[in-house]
Each structure stands twice: as C-alpha cells, then as structure tokens.
C-alpha cells in the first residue's frame, strides 16, 4: 500500500479565523492630519473582513501550503505543462530590490539594467527559436497566442488581403489555439490527425484556400510526436498565402535540435514558465513572449526594446503595431528568472535539457508499454511526452483514466494530464521533464503497473481513490450545479440553511 499521507488540516476559511480587535498590520501615520471629506454617499459603510494577528496569518497560509503539491514535492508529469525544476537562484534574483522597487515609467536612464535584461533575453530567444524579433509583453501562453494571431491578422489586412478570415488548427491542438483565433475574430477550421497522430496532409491541402490566414501548430504535437512532414506542411500553408504559427508549449522537446524558425514558422510564442524554468505559481504568473520573422516585426506590440550600442531604450515608434496586449512590458519578474536560467544552462545545457527530457519520456513509455489496461496508440518514438490510453482498462474493469489519476495521488505522485489530447480516449498524457531521477521514473511506472493490477483485481479501490490526500474525491458537479464562489455567497446560503458544508 502506498505510504504517502498529505497533511489534512481541516483548515477553516480565513473568515472563520481571528477575533475582534486583533491586528496584523503596521502603517506609518499620515504626514499631516488633514481632514478630507468624502461625500457621504461615497463613503465606505462597512467592511466584512477577518481580524487576525500576524502569527495567525502565517500559520493559516503555511497550513494551506502543506495541503498543496508542487514540483518541489515530487514528480509532476502533467503533459504539455513542462513542470521542470525551478532553480532557486531565479527567485533570489527576481526578488532583488533592483527589480522589485522599480517603477515602469521611470526615466530610461534609471532603468538601464531592466532594459538590458529584456534586450539580452530577446537575443537568447531569437537564437533559440530562429526568429528575428521578439515582444516580451504577453503574460502567458494564451496571451502570446492572441498577440500572434493579431499580428497575422494585421499583416494580411495591411496588404489589403481582407478575405483571410480562417485559422486552421489540428484536432490535437491545445484549447487555447482555437479560443485565441476566435478572439482575434477568425473562423476556426479544425482538421483531423492521421493514424500516426500527425497532421493529415490531404486534409490540410483541402482546408487551405484564399481565406486561410494561417495554421496554428505545436511541434512536437500534443501526443509528443514530432511532425515529420513539417516542411511540407509549411509549404502547403505558405503556397496558399497563409502564415504558420508555432505554439511553443512543447519547445522543451527540441531545444538545440531544430528551431521553429528553420521549420518555416513565421510567428512563435514560447512559455517561459514551461521551457525556461520559471515556476507556475499554482496557475501563474507565466510569460509568453512572441517572436516573428523579419517581415512581421513592424506589427509587434509596443514598445520594443532597442540598443544603440551605448544605451537601451523603449521604442514606441511602430506605426503598424497591433497596440498592446498587456500593460507595460510584460511580467518583468518572470523575465529575470528566465534570463538567469538561460545564462546558467548555455548552449550545451539547453540542448542537454531536451535530450534528457526526451530520454525520460521514451524511457517511461517503453517501460510502461505492454502493461495490461494501458495502450500506446500512434507511433512509438516520442519527444518530451508520451500519451497512453486507459481505454482497455475502462472496457475491462470500468476503471477510467480519471480513477488512475486519483490513485496516483495516493502514492504521492502527481497525475498526468488526463482526457487530453481529445483524439486519444481515456488519455494519460505524461511529461516527466529532465528534472526527475531514474528512480522516480521507475517508481512512476511501478505505481501505474500496480494500479493496473488493482483495477483488474479490486477495481473499487481505484475508483474510490484518492484516500491519502487532504480531501477525498471532490464533487465538481455540485460546484457547478450550485456555485459557491465567495464567502458572501456561502454566508447567505448558510443563514438560509441551504448549505451543509
């Protein structure tokens, strides 16, 4: 039996803690006690907030953290998320007062260091991806996708090519791809994958037309399979007058081997919080810089960072720019972390990161393959991730991918991404990254094998998992059927006796 036990604090909500008159703030007094009269109807009436002392605040959030699992807790092989180790030096430098106490509107002469960080990071990203210019403004991958498709839109419109209102995405694409294209006003055309799990060239040929603005593609794709026909794909799209967009979520599979720019991509976004080791923070902040080929650089968001040989400066003079996609210059603190990582890794280190990430994924794939209940559809050679299907297990025992995921938690192992990509039934999408040991990989495979045995001998045990986490199987249907989103809503329901939690 798995030995893992997560802390189970039954920690109350912060609103249920504290006591009248306790304080945890200290503030300087006002410079002068001037009476400022706010009109009565705009004055704050009451504030229903908890009153706590500092030790209580610290204990509360420490306990909450103990009911959470991060990369530093153990293997976290969420497919397409690249949960690699987050070096601590990154945090130290991003927390430097020379980063934190700097205002974005300061005179350029007083922020040369910050601008240099941005300029240097851009040079690294250009070489890593084979693109000619970058914006560091997007806050996340999806924000980068939106930036990229807006650039594609601006390019076509600028050329008077007003009919191009379609973006093509494969059926294996991340959900953000069609959502971003739709946000930019495009119609989304989905094309099927072939038996190998790759773009179906015939389907692509029949999808492109004079209405094609572009194709959004991730390579390696979401099955972890490298799109071998990428040069042909690029040709088909370009011949039709469309542009090629690279979703960089899976860049960790090809660093130092092949670059999006050399494969024919015109626009690229990368996730610094995936490939370049900045932590994900439980959902963000990330950063999603966007790179373009030279012919698209005039459409980038403003400002871009320039260097004239002596000083760094912000250039707002891009008359064709799509504008801005986020305030100021992006998630600067995240940029500091990524640059730190790049400098430590260097040419060899980056390449080695991909090599080990790919080795780990294939190692895990080979070791697990053949285990009863799991099958490995599509071709075998993978890059950074491998996608199994628990379809046979579900058919034989009723145990689903969801149950397997929950049972993994009982071992203190984070689950893979499940039910994605949509083209694999009962998908278990596993991306170990280069940050784990061989022993961790073996233990993960062993756990999946043991779960298979359990599924065939005692399926209820798996279906009722998890048992060792802070709470057991969570009712997400109830959360949507009767939404309780805030303490306010909860309190009202409680007063009416309409809730028993």
């Amino acid at each position: 039996m798995p030995m893992f036990k997560q802390a189970r604090w039954d920690e109350p909500l912060i609103f249920e803690l504290g006591g009248r008159g306790r304080v945890s703030f200290t503030l300087p007094e006002a410079i002068e006690d001037i009476d400022v009269q706010i009109p009565e109807e705009l004055k704050r009436g009451s504030l229903e907030l908890p009153e706590l002392s500092e030790p209580e605040v610290v204990k509360h959030y420490t306990r909450l953290s103990e009911m959470n699992y991060g990369v530093d807790s153990g293997i976290y092989p969420l497919g397409s998320c690249t949960m690699k180790y987050n070096p601590k030096i990154n945090e130290e430098l991003a927390g430097h007062p020379k980063v934190t106490y700097v205002h974005p509107y300061q005179d350029e002469r007083t922020v040369q260091g910050a601008l240099q960080v941005m300029w240097e990071l851009e040079q690294w990203l250009k070489e890593v991806t084979g693109m000619d210019r970058f914006t560091l403004q997007p806050a996340a991958g999806a924000n980068g996708e939106f930036t990229g498709v807006m650039i594609i839109r601006a390019y076509h419109l600028d050329r008077g090519d007003t009919k191009r209102d379609e973006i093509i995405v494969p059926d294996s694409a991340h959900g953000t791809n069609p959502a971003s294209a739709a946000m930019a006003g495009f119609k989304v055309i989905e094309i099927p994958s072939n038996e190998q799990g790759m773009v179906d060239l015939e389907a692509l040929r029949s999808a492109v037309s004079e209405r094609t603005a572009g194709l959004m593609l991730t390579n390696p794709n979401t099955l972890g399979i490298f799109e071998e026909d990428i040069l042909e794909i690029a040709k088909i799209v370009h011949d039709a007058g469309g542009l090629l967009y690279y979703d960089g979520a899976n860049l960790n599979g090809i660093l130092g081997k092949v670059r999006p720019g050399d494969m024919g991509f015109d626009v690229v976004h990368i996730n610094l919080h995936k490939t370049f080791s900045t932590p994900h923070g439980g959902g963000g902040p990330g950063a999603g810089p966007v790179g373009v080929k030279d012919f698209l650089k005039d459409y980038l968001p403003v400002p871009v960072v320039e260097y004239d040989g002596e000083k760094y400066y912000l250039n707002y003079d891009l008359p064709k720019s799509i504008g801005k996609v986020k305030e100021f210059y992006g998630n600067f603190g995240v940029l500091v972390k990524a640059l730190t990582y790049l400098k430590i890794m260097g040419r060899q280190g980056l390449k080695e990161a991909s090599e080990i990430a790919v080795l780990n994924a294939n190692y895990l794939g080979k070791k697990l393959k053949g285990t009863k209940g799991y099958e490995l559809p599509h071709k075998e050679l993978r890059k950074h991730e491998v996608v199994f299907s628990a379809e046979p297990m579900k058919r034989d025992t009723g145990v689903k991918a969801l149950d397997v995921a929950k049972r993994l938690l009982d071992h203190g192992l984070h689950a893979p991404t499940i039910y994605f990509p949509l083209i694999v039934h009962e998908a278990l999408m596993i991306e170990p990254t280069e940050g784990v040991t061989k022993e961790e990989l073996d233990a993960y495979v062993d756990a999946l094998k043991r779960i298979s045995e359990e599924a065939y001998s005692n399926p209820e045990l798996v279906k009722s998992a998890p048992h060792n986490t802070a709470v057991r199987r969570v009712d997400d249907v109830l959360a949507t059927k009767r939404p309780v989103i805030t303490w306010r809503m909860y309190r009202k329901l409680k007063e009416k006796g309409d809730i028993d939690i």
Binding site: T62, G435, V474
Partner: protein
C-alpha cells in the same frame, strides 16, 4: 558509490547538469530501452533543418549571480531616489511575511490545480482571494484573476458586448495610455467600437456628453478614482445613465481605496475590475500583476464571465473542499466558443493580494485609505506653492500638476537632484499643457515632498528653464 575526486571527473561539464539527474545515466537508460544513442531519439527530425545553437556556454551559478547583479545594479530604485510616479503603478510597502508565504514552494512550484484533492491549499487560497475581493468590491462573483487591470478592461468590454449583443463600449477620455492601448487591441477582432467621453471642468466624467453617446452602448466604463486621481462624485448618476439605456455599468477601482470609498457593488456596478497587485506585490517594473474581475450574481452574467473560478463543494465524505467550477465557459472545454482564451492567470499574485488584504483587515484597510488621502492632501497643499492644480476635488494618490515651463525640462532638473518627478501628461493629453501626474501613497515621506517642493522652487528661478 565512490566518486573519483581527481582527474577527468572534475573537468568542467556542460552547465545545467545540476538540474538533470539522468544526465549521469544516459547510456544505461538508452540501453535499457533499446536505443544506441541520443541521436536515435531524434531520428524523426528532418536532417536538413537540424541546427546547433550559436549561444554562449553555460556558467556557474555564482558567475551568473554576479553578472545579473551587475546588470540590475544599473537600475535606480524608489529606495534610492524619491519618486513621485504613479499613473497606474504605485509604491506600496508589502509586509515581509507576504513574500515569505507565497514563496512556499508548494504554492510557488504548483501548476493550475487540475487535481483538486492534492491541491486544496492553492484552491482554498484562491477561493479566499475571490472572497476577500468580493467583500471589497461588494459583488458576489469574482474570478481567480486576469493578467492585469488593462486586460480585465479588454475582457469586460468583450463581455459587455456578448451580453447585450451591442458593439459600442464607452470609456472616459482620461484613461491610462496603457489601458487604452490594451483595450483597443482586445476589442479589435470582436468589432467593438470604443467611444470616449470627455472630462468636465472638475476633471470628472462629463455627464452631458455621456448622455449623448450612451444610446446603443453595451457598457459604460468609469474609474474610481479616475486616472487623474480624482474621486468621481457623480458616479452613481453614471450608473443610472448606463442602466437607463440597458448598458452594463462597469467600474474600475483601485482596491487600496476601498477602505474609505464605497463598494462599487453598492452603487450599482454590474462588473467591477481593477488591479489586485496593488496589494501584495512590489512594482516589479510593471509586472507580474493580477486583474480583478467581479460580476453581479446573475446567472446570465456569470455564464459570460472570462477566467478561472474556484468554487466550494464537498468530497465523497461530505467534507468541505474546493475545485475549479463553471468550467464550461473555458477554452479547454469550449475551444473556439469559450468566453476567453485565458488559461494561465496570475494565481500567485492573487494569493499575495489576499494575504496582504487579510493582514490589513478592516481597520488596516480603512487606515491605509485614510493615510493615502491625507498624504495626498498634504502633497496638494505643498504643490500649490510651485504649480497649478488644474482640478480641485478629492484626490487619491494621483494629482495632476501644471507648470508654466516645459515639464520635460523640469524633469531633467529634478533628476539631477536625485528626485524622480511625475508622469508627463502632455504627450497623451495635450489639452492639459505642461502637466505631469504626480502620485503619493502611504510610503511617501514628508522629507521627500519637502525636497521636491524645494527643488521646484529652485528650478523656477533657474535660468535654464
């Protein structure tokens, strides 16, 4: 295992190996899975496009630490130079325990909580963030954050258009240049037209012009305090005008003002947005930040809401638990029909804000608002000695000041005296002449203001200006 402590084993290896344990076991692992070499793992990559990086070699952590320190050292901080910059980013002091807590690696290094059972800590912290913001803004539904205030505004315009099936969105003309640019990009693909309403002689929204433009609007947006730092005294009337025309009433707030200013939900706001990072996060040269997005508890509105939402539910044993709720609005399910493409948000920044708000509590929030109001009043009193204040009224943090000489020259003179002046308004609002937007907060010291006023007096008499 015995490691050789001399000879070849100590030769410098490619850097980064300290982050990749299996770098030491390549051969063995390859053999186990039947591959000859690493290259075999990449046999599917077309050879004619393969590429060797032309990048510097890796370095030791110490060398990079030195390099980054030297680079960052070229920045001058608000601790080294009194600064009066605001205009949408403010120098607030963040109590030390906030940073300490969000750097707990169980929070810091987690992904989006897709597996709720093992991620209750982050889920509860985000539920509490939503709850604390709900109390501040006076609405019941809050999401777990957008990227920043500007992107919240873009999403609010899009949501208003979806909800009302109209395509005009009204905003004040005195809006931050950052927000104007973000908003325009966000609505461009949706075919939404932005209409600007001018400010009146008090620097507040001109109600007459609003009435002329409001017909057919999806939403009316106003900020409290506005970009000039002024309290919009007729904000309730703005809401009424919006509602009389079946437009949504969208209010942007600086949440640090909500200990002294009324909750927008209490004066009719349908959607409230703002910048959560004014709590809990330092300035960081503009990011990361976190956009507040709150709506009225109305099923139809909630269905149109962007972003991730955490809900309270129970587990199979009936214990309280938290989970991502109402996901059918989101991109991973609805794809092209999602309410937004947002996936990664600013979760940790939101948690930092929550910890800071919880630390302040009701009294701290009221006190913070009061100190800022009084400091701003002191600043105005002193600035009248050296410039003109184009708008009377009540200011919170930001104050426009008009000078008789070109402000860029004044800025130079201030910088020579190690003082950073305000944000030059003329390039964005030429009608304000030689004005700059100065800001103070609870962190501003009396000596700084006094030094600024003294410097401005000196500069006035300076022949160069």
């Amino acid at each position: 295992m015995t490691a050789k402590l001399f000879g070849d084993d100590l030769k410098v290896m490619p850097m980064g190996k300290h982050y990749m344990p299996n770098s030491a076991h390549k051969e063995e692992m390859l053999r186990e899975i039947g591959f000859e070499s690493i290259e075999d793992l990449f046999s599917d990559v077309p050879k004619n496009v393969s590429y060797e990086f032309n990048l510097p070699e890796g370095k030791s952590e110490y060398e990079v630490f030195l390099e980054m320190n030297e680079m960052l050292g070229k920045n001058k901080t608000a601790l080294e130079m009194p600064s009066f910059l605001g205009a949408g980013t403010y120098f607030h002091y963040v109590p030390a325990h906030v940073k300490y807590l969000i750097e707990r690696s169980e929070f810091l290094t987690a992904y989006t909580p897709y597996q709720p059972e093992i991620s209750q800590g982050m889920l509860q912290a985000l539920f509490e963030y939503q709850s604390l913001i709900a109390e501040l803004v006076g609405l019941e539904i809050v999401n777990a954050s957008m990227y920043d205030w500007g992107t919240s505004l873009g999403e609010a315009a899009r949501m208003s258009a979806r909800f009302t099936r109209r395509n005009k969105f009204i905003v004040p003309k005195n809006l931050s240049p950052e927000k104007i640019k973000v908003l325009q990009t966000y609505v461009d693909g949706a075919g939404i037209e932005i209409e600007y309403v001018k400010w009146n002689e008090k620097g507040q929204m001109d109600l007459e012009e609003l009435k002329e433009k409001v017909e057919g609007a999806a939403g009316v947006y106003i900020e409290m305090p506005n970009f000039f730092g002024l309290i919009e005294e007729e904000i309730k009337a703005v809401g009424e005008i919006a509602h009389d025309n079946n437009a949504l009433f969208v209010v942007g707030v600086d949440p640090t003002s909500l200990g002294v200013l009324e909750a927008p939900g209490n004066y009719g706001a349908d959607i409230v947005i703002g910048e959560a990072a004014f709590f809990g996060s330092p300035m960081n040269f503009g990011g990361p930040r976190a956009g507040i997005f709150a709506v009225k508890n109305d099923k139809k509105l909630v269905r149109q809401m962007p972003g991730r939402i955490i809900g309270m539910t129970k587990d199979v044993d009936g214990r309280r638990a938290f989970v991502m709720a109402l996901q059918t609005r989101e991109q991973h399910i609805r794809r092209a029909k999602a309410t937004s493409n947002i996936c990664s948000n600013e979760a940790l920044v939101a948690v930092a804000a929550a910890i800071h708000i919880a630390t302040l509590g009701p009294k701290g929030l009221a006190k913070l608002g009061e100190v800022i109001l009084k400091n701003t009043a002191y600043f105005k009193k002193r600035m009248k000695e050296v410039g003109e204040l184009p708008f009377e009224g009540i200011n919170f943090k930001d104050v426009p000041v008009k000078f008789e000489v070109p402000y860029d020259a004044i800025h130079e003179r201030l910088l020579e005296r190690n003082i950073h002046g305000g944000f030059y308004l003329k390039p964005h609002f030429p009608e304000l002449g030689e004005s700059a937007l100065f800001a103070v907060t609870e962190t501003t010291r009396k000596e700084w203001i006094d030094a600024l006023v003294d410097a401005l007096k000196e500069i006035e008499g300076d022949a160069y200006v």
